[in-house]
Each structure stands twice: as C-alpha cells, then as structure tokens.
C-alpha cells in the first residue's frame, strides 16, 4: 500500500509540475470553445454591414410588403430595401447592376415567379444563413400582400402574421429548467468531446509512461522494490489523478464565472451556466472510462518495445473510443431512441454515450445504474486481464508478442 502510494505521488507530482500540464489545462477548453461555442456566437451575431437590395415585384403592394419585412430590425442582416415594379425584361438590367456593384442584390418576386415557385435572390455574395432568413422574410411579405389584396386591414394582417416564440423547457428530476438553447447544446457537445480527449490523452500518457519505464530499463530497478501490481496501480491512479485535477480546475472555473453577469454574450453565458449534473458526472464518467481505457493502454505499453510499435497497435484501443464519438450526434438528437439506449449500455461506449444522454436529457435512473454497473464489472475484468499482460510484458524485450503468446501470458498463474 505504501509503495503504491509512493508511486502515485511520483507520477502525480512529476506531471503536475510540467509546463505541458498547465498548457493543456488552458488550451483544451480554449480549443473546445473555439470549435463549439465560438461558431454559434458568430452565427448569431448581427451582420452590421448594410446591404442595398432591390425588391423586384409585378405590383407595388407585394414589393412594399416584402420590403417592409426586409427593413425590420429583427433580422440578422441589415438591409436597405428599394422597391421596383418590373417586367420580365428588367432581369438583365438588374443583373448588370449587381455586376457593376450599384446594388448588392435583388429579390425577384414577380407574380409569375411566386406561382411557379421561382423566387430568386441574386447577389454578388450569398450565404446559407442568409437564404434561410430571406425565405422567412419573403414568405411573410408575400402573405401580407395576399391578405391585404383580399381587403384586410394592415393592423389585422400584422396580428395574424405575428410569430409565436417557442421556449424549450426540460424536466430534470421533476424540476423545470429552461434550457436547450444553442449555447447549451454546444456546451454539452464540447464537454463530451473534452471527456473523449481526456480519455485518449491520459490513456496514452499511461501507455507512454509504461513504455518509458521499459525502454529506460528503470523497470528492473522498480521491480526489485515493488510488485508489478503496485507499479501498475500506482501509475494508473497517479496519471488519472492528474486528469481529475485538470477537470477540477475547469469545473471550479465554470462554477465561478458561470453565473456571472460580467459576460456580455448571452450564448456564452448560457453555455457556461451548466446544469449541476453535467459538471458532477464529468469527473465520474472520466474516472470510470479512464480506469477501463488506461488499463488497456498500460497493457499495450507493456506489450510493445517502442513508440513506433505502440502506434501500430493503438487502433486496437482507440477504435472503441472513436465509435461513441462517431455516433454521438445521433445519440444527442434522439437520446431516448432504442439505439441510443443500447449503445449507452455497452461498457466500452458508455463512459461517453451515457454522459451524452445525461446532458441532453435525463435517462431513467435504472438505465444509468445498469450502464455504470456493467461498466464497473467490465473494468474489473479488464484490469485483472491487463495486469496479467502487464506483469509478463514489462520484462519482455525484443520480439513483439503474438496473440497466442499474450493469451499464454494471461494464463500464467
């Protein structure tokens, strides 16, 4: 016990004191922020640049209605609309104007185009986000023109067309939480991805550490004082402790600034204001997943003789980690489906997929319990198996073992 503790202490201190630890503690969340929350912030940002758009219609009422919508302050983009009543032949003229740059673009909403479904937006540059918005704007405008043409008062038409806003509310343990915005979606995505990165990063750190002891031959010195079990346990726990420390730093940071009103961006504030369960289950699933995968990585490190050899065999451990990441979006969009439920029960996938389900909605407690139970049982068996491979592997130099040889190692008493 004392020996294991000494090894844990060494592994932990040697790692936490490195610059790499500090850098990854800062960089990993920064990277996650960069790939998840930042794009959603950018997408939601108002486009400040004013664009000069001609609304080309067969009659003034349609042109006015669309242009009124286009000028609305609620839009993402800022438009400067100009109405024009046109005939089919003016299309070329408008095209020329766009090419010459006198206008930024035009909306072709003639009666013909409306009935034949050929409404077009022509501009020097178009974006996917914009065409979605224009669709709503034009629809709204055309409907408004139709209502008026049937004699409805403008105020009544506005009343009928007024959009209804929807808020998602989710129930968590009987409590209502207003949630489910884009920011939160990305936060859940980011956290899960971080969990995956941590499992890979710290699993590989365990493997490298074993390999380093093997190649530097310090293994022999260590084994003259400690058992292979103590050595492996100390290593796995020491490296894992570093990972937990990193998570603790993040969780404290998120809790500290999450509720703060100093953050001006509503998306970021929403993303950082995470439900308690997301934060609590992050270290829990990290520990469970880490124990499973780091044992595999430790056994792998013991089997091979060099970093290159390790790389050849890494897929064997990495693939079960990639599968949950590949299916993550599917599980996230339908966390209740049979597919999601069963995938989150498979021990090698559950650390990531059960966490995904928990952050996207609340699965029944029995499912969480069963998933964790299966995971713990599997981890126990895998640790047992891996410690046997480890025990023999660390003293084997030279030839890479074949599969039958590894089976034999496991069978050694």
């Amino acid at each position: 016990m004392r020996n294991t503790w000494l090894i844990i202490r060494r592994e932990y201190l040697e790692r936490v004191r490195t610059r790499a630890f500090i850098i990854s503690t800062i960089l990993l969340p920064a990277f996650m922020f960069g790939v998840t929350i930042l794009p959603s912030m950018l997408a939601n940002r108002k486009n400040k640049q004013e664009r000069h758009i001609v609304v080309a219609a067969s009659n003034q009422s349609v042109a006015d209605a669309v242009s009124q919508q286009l000028g609305s302050k609620d839009n993402q983009g800022t438009y400067l609309p100009e109405t024009r009543v046109v005939s089919d032949s003016s299309k070329q003229e408008l095209n020329n104007a766009v090419t010459a740059g006198t206008i930024d673009g035009y909306l072709w909403v003639t009666d013909d185009a409306i009935t034949s479904g050929k409404v077009t937006f022509t501009a020097s540059n178009t974006s996917l986000f914009e065409s979605g918005e224009l669709q709503a704007i034009v629809n709204n405008g055309v409907r408004r023109a139709r209502l008026r043409s049937r004699g409805m008062l403008p105020a009544d038409a506005d009343e009928i067309l007024k959009a209804v806003k929807i808020d998602s509310v989710r129930l968590e343990g009987g409590e209502q939480k207003s949630a489910g915005g884009l920011g939160q979606f990305f936060a859940a995505f980011g956290l899960t991805f971080m969990l995956y990165m941590m499992l890979v990063m710290y699993g590989m750190a365990t493997m490298r550490s074993v390999l380093e002891e093997k190649t530097s031959r310090v293994m022999e010195v260590m084994l003259s004082s400690v058992t292979s079990k103590e050595l492996m346990a100390g290593k796995v726990l020491g490296v894992g402790g570093v990972g937990l420390t990193q998570i603790a730093v993040w969780v404290i940071f998120i809790v500290a600034i999450g509720g703060s009103t100093a953050i001006s961006s509503p998306e970021l504030r929403e993303a950082l204001n995470m439900p308690f369960s997301q934060l609590v289950f992050l270290p829990i699933f990290f520990v469970l997943g880490y124990m499973l995968y780091s044992s595999l990585y430790a056994a792998l490190g013991a089997m091979v003789n060099s970093e290159q050899e390790a790389q050849q065999f890494q897929w064997f451990v990495t693939i079960p980690l990639i599968i949950p990441i590949a299916t993550m979006m599917g599980v996230m969009s339908q966390p209740d489906s049979a597919f999601a439920t069963w995938m989150s029960m498979v021990p090698f996938f559950s650390p990531i997929l059960m966490y995904v389900r928990m952050v996207s909605h609340t699965p029944p407690p029995w499912q969480i319990g069963l998933s964790i139970g299966l995971l713990v049982a599997t981890t126990y068996l895998v640790v047992l198996l891996c410690s046997r491979i480890y025990r023999v592997g660390i003293l084997m130099y030279g030839k890479r073992p074949t599969l039958p040889e590894i089976v034999k190692w496991v069978k050694y008493a």
Binding site: L6, R10, S216, T227
Partner: protein, 309 residues
C-alpha cells in the same frame, strides 16, 4: 556461519527454453561472491529469482535463512546490468524516491541521498535531471540507489562497466567498506581480474547450470601450477616445436601457455633462455579467466587446444 542466500535446485523455463536448470548455490554471510558465466548463461534470470522479480518453476530460494518473502527486498540492494533511472527526475528526488520504496522515511532518504552524492562527487548535480548527467555519473547514481537503504545484501551486476579507473577505485573503496561492515556482496561480471581481486567464492554458470562452485582459492588450487607466463625479446618461434606444451598463445613479446601433464618447467625455462632474451618467466595457477574459458569450452564440447594467435 549463516548463509545470506541459498538457492536450492531452482529451475526456470521460458516456453521450451530452460534459462536456469536445477541450479544450487550458497552465499555465506559477509562474503564477496562472484556469479560468473558467459552471455546468456542464465545469470540475470538467476538474479531476478533472488529478487522475486520472477518466480522459479521449481526449487527454493532461501534468503537470510528463511524462504523468500517480499519483506526481504528492503534488506537487499540491486544494481541491474541494464541501468535504468527516471530520466526526467531530479537526482536527489530520484534517489530518495527509490530509497523510500525500500522503507526509508522521507526526510532520512533525502539526507542520505545528499550525503552519498557528496561522497561520490556528485554534489554539483543534485538538482539536475538525470538525463543531463554523463553516462559515468548516471552509473554512480545507480550505484547510490542500490546502497542508499543500507542493505545487508548487495547484488551488483557489472558494477564497474562504463566507469573510468578513478571512479572505479572510488566504487571499490565503498565496496570494501561495505564488506568490512559485514555486508554480503554478490558480483555478477565478466571481468575476471576484478573477481580475483574482490571475491572469496564464485559460482560459474553455463547454460543454466553451475559448472564450478566454491571457494576461489581451492578452485584454483585444483588446477595446479601448470600455467606459464613469459615476457621476452626475440624470435618466439621455437615454441612451435616444443613438446611439453598443452597449448600456447603468443602475443608477440608476451606468451601464455599451459604445460602438458608431467612436463618439466626447468626444461622449458632452459630452452627459452637459450633462444630469446627473457625479462619474465612465471609459473603459476591458471588465471580465473583461463579456468572460465576452459570450463565453458569443455562443456560446450569444443577443443581446448589453441594455436598461435
């Protein structure tokens, strides 16, 4: 006298390969013991079983008078042939970590580490990482790691390899001091001159079996005084025709030879004196190196006879 270590008919197999085959040996308390053998003879496998790094398939390991148990390890110091240290660790931290694993309390371990670093002229490096040290220095660090917990039994695998003569002397002094303090030392080496200088008893193993085991003096005496070393100036070709020689090896101005049974040394001396200018002619017991080579060769079924080098 109590024995520090006894191996009783231990055997270790790796698959079909027998690394150690029914080996027995005894190391007396307070003695310096040489474990010799050609490469791949099973020395490292034997030592690993003494340390409990691997377990014998059959046979018994008796340490300090009782069957092997892990608690013994705190009383044993081990310098493996393949040196290994944590490269990124600072010297003092590394040494005290290894000593703590042997049961030395934290503060005491650091104090001793500093003391030994000073003794072996490493004081200037105590806060440096091991990877910044030269090979020879790392070697000394490794040696300190083996003796820091003041073990009663020291197992040293090739302790002097990679050391310059001055450092080797420092190490030898420490070893003699340890011996005086009643410690038992096991040496595993190929350097026969060092064995002759330091060891009282030896065990020569070949192909996993003990082929010579016992007190060094009596082993050498058994071979008799039939070994001759000669230094000369002139033409040494006359040895070719000489009848009474089992074999000889001519290095140019220095010859080693072994007399055939019953051959007369005086005849050889007279012959030599008449042909060349002698500066040394010595009749002696064969050096351990010769005994080693002969024994191994005999066992491997090769001819002992050798001609002009």
């Amino acid at each position: 006298m109590e024995n520090t270590l006894e191996l009783r008919r231990i055997t270790k197999r790796y698959d079909k390969f027998v690394a150690v085959d029914d080996l027995s040996l005894t190391i007396e308390k307070g003695s310096v013991f040489g474990l010799l053998g050609p490469n791949g003879a099973g020395k490292t496998s034997t030592i690993r079983m003494m340390m409990g790094i691997t377990m014998p398939d059959s046979g018994e390991v008796i340490v300090f008078g009782e069957p092997y148990k892990r608690a013994h390890l705190d009383r044993i110091g081990y310098l493996p042939e393949e040196r290994g240290l944590y490269k990124k660790m600072k010297l003092v931290e590394q040494l005290s970590f290894l000593a703590e694993l042997k049961g030395v309390p934290n503060g005491e371990a650091t104090r001793r580490a500093r003391h030994w670093c000073e003794r072996l002229e490493l004081s200037a490096w105590t806060e440096k990482k091991v990877e910044e040290l030269s090979k020879g220095m790392q070697q000394k660090v490794q040696f300190i790691a083996a003796i820091l917990h003041d073990p009663e039994f020291l197992i040293l695998d090739e302790p002097f390899s990679g050391l310059d003569p001055a450092n080797a002397d420092v190490l030898k002094d420490v070893l003699l001091e340890q011996k005086k303090a009643g410690k038992t030392i096991l040496f595993s080496t190929h350097r026969m001159d060092q064995v002759e200088q330091l060891c009282q008893s030896i065990c020569l193993i070949n192909e996993g079996q003990a082929v010579l085991h016992g007190d060094l003096r009596s082993i050498k005496a058994k071979y008799g005084r039939n070994h001759v070393q000669m230094e000369y100036e002139g033409d040494g070709d006359f040895l070719q025709q000489s009848k009474g020689l089992q074999w000889f090896k001519n290095y140019g101005s220095y010859v080693e030879m072994e007399l055939a049974p019953g051959a007369d040394t005086r005849e050889l001396l007279q012959l030599a004196a008449s042909r060349v200018k002698l500066s040394r002619f010595q009749v002696m017991e064969p050096p351990l190196e010769q005994i080693f080579k002969d024994t191994v060769k005999k066992q491997n079924g090769n001819s002992v006879r050798e001609q002009n080098a």
